[in-house]
């Protein structure tokens, strides 16, 4: 593209005195890695592509699903079942053919994280689970990479800039572990599938992440360094909290690349162990046999209600204290999506050992009800 065309494409931001041609050149030279092409990744990618970030890479191993479309606005119904990374790259390249867009249709893991992240100037965390979030944070600290963080739950969002390049007069920049030192265990928080999310919320938060990224690259304004921005979409309340480094944070982060590779982030965040999962079909057959205690480990107010089969209700947090309610030798835990029930199965296995057979219903009650409809 000629300089004239380049000038025209970015004209409206180049004429901003703070931004100028210098700002545009900085963007064109920048390399940004967007991890997760979902609710947060889509809007962040769109604005970074439009703004003219010179190299953008997208890593995501997921495929587009119909229930993504209410918030993952890059995709259409024709993309269902296709790789998010590849589809996003294709769609974005049409928006701006002058920049380089790379698609990695794979999952970020300890084995590829350091090599990949090291190639970029700024990392954007648009993932949807704690294990990847902690892994990204630790990798960024190890490699000295600024991390633009965003996360959402239901109607609320958080944005921050972690671990930026050392600023003058500042010793140590805050990272995610200064805010939350250890990952929560499953059940201590809800994920999107279980908690739900208003579609427009990741649009707002992801767009803010693009804005923070552009500010970091061009050096304009005041990025959310050492601050956590929180937004509530229902009442428009905004809180900006000031963060400071914790003394013990460094001890939680792997010392070097070798140590990083040894960390099992999935385990750290109590991600699923699949061996004791059963599907809806096996669940139904086991129910026919009887002599089973079925436990709903969801919070008492959670929908949908279950009246198709007998069960007891013990929310996950109270499970450990209420094991006396469990009488049968076979126990099946269920929740909304099958995540918390796996954690419940883990807890119960720890308590009962081999004295009881303990299972978790895969896909949760949502999947079970869906299967029932199709039968």
């Amino acid at each position: 593209m000629s300089d004239q065309n380049l000038y025209e494409r970015y004209h409206r931001q180049i004429i901003l005195p703070e931004f100028g041609e210098v700002g545009q050149q900085k963007l064109l030279k920048a390399k940004v890695l967007v991890i997760g092409a979902g609710g947060l990744g889509c809007p962040a990618l769109q604005y970074l592509t439009a703004a003219g970030v010179g190299t953008i890479a997208i890593i995501d191993d997921d495929v587009v699903a119909l229930n993504n479309l209410h918030r993952q606005v890059l995709y259409s119904v024709n993309d269902i079942g296709l790789s998010k990374a590849k589809r996003a790259a294709h769609i974005l390249q049409q928006l701006n053919p002058e920049i380089k867009i790379i698609a990695y249709n794979q999952r970020l893991a300890t084995q590829n994280a350091l090599t990949l992240i090291d190639d970029f100037d700024i990392i954007i965390d648009g993932t949807d689970n704690f294990s990847t979030r902690y892994m990204i944070n630790d990798a960024c600290v190890l490699l000295n990479k600024p991390l633009v963080y965003g996360a959402i739950s239901q109607f609320e969002g958080q944005v921050s800039v972690f671990n930026p390049q050392p600023l003058k007069g500042r010793n140590e920049a805050v990272n995610y572990r200064d805010l939350f030192p250890d990952p929560p265990r499953d059940g201590e928080v809800l994920n999107c599938a279980e908690a739900g999310v208003l579609g427009v919320l990741p649009g707002i938060i992801g767009t803010m992440m693009a804005n923070e990224t552009i500010k970091l690259i061009t050096g304009i304004g005041e990025p959310l360094i050492d601050q956590l921005f929180t937004y509530n979409a229902l009442n428009n309340q905004v809180y900006i909290l000031n963060l400071s480094a914790r003394k013990d944070t460094r001890s939680l982060i792997p010392k070097d690349k070798k140590e990083f590779l040894k960390i099992d982030y999935e385990w750290l965040c109590a991600a699923p162990v699949q061996q004791n999962e059963i599907d809806s079909d096996i669940f139904n057959r086991m129910m026919v046999k009887g002599n089973i205690d079925v436990i709903d480990v969801r919070e008492l107010h959670e929908m949908p209600t279950v009246n198709e089969f007998n069960h007891i209700r013990i929310p996950l947090a109270q499970l450990g204290d209420n094991t006396s309610l469990i009488k049968s030798d076979t126990v099946i835990a269920f929740c909304q999506s099958g995540k918390r029930s796996l954690q419940a199965a883990k807890i119960l296995s720890g308590i009962f050992g081999d004295s009881k057979k303990i299972y978790s219903l895969r896909g949760g009650i949502v999947e079970w009800k869906k299967q029932k409809q199709t039968v």
Binding site: G36, G38, G39, L40, G41, D125, G126, T127, D128, N129, F130, R133, G150, A151, I152, S153, Q154, E156, G157, Q158, L179, F180, P184, E188, V189, L190, N191, C192, A195, V197, P202, L228, T230, N232, Y239, I240, L241, N242, L243, S244, R246, P315, A317, Q318
Partner: protein, 76 residues
């Protein structure tokens, strides 16, 4: 002395958006009092902010103190 607490995310579902607690001198006694009122809070992860500063140690409160409890979010 009554201290106002703003709750975020799942914590707001537990107790409503804003609660106040009487007769607490510092954040440790505040959390102790909240845990009694909302037992689920004891098993939930969150950070505490006083006057918009995230704290890591017990902090003295006064009647103007604004306390916020924030859980981590993982959604994307």
């Amino acid at each position: 002395m009554s201290v106002k607490i703003i709750l975020f995310g799942k914590l707001a579902d537990l107790a409503g958006g804003t609660v106040s607690v009487d007769n607490v001198a510092d954040t440790d006694s505040l959390i102790e009092s909240l845990n009694k009122r909302y037992p689920e809070l004891a098993t939930t992860k969150y950070v505490i902010a006083v006057d918009k500063q995230v704290i890591t140690e017990n902090t003295v409160l006064n009647k103007k103190s604004m306390v916020a409890l924030l859980p981590p979010f993982s959604g994307g």
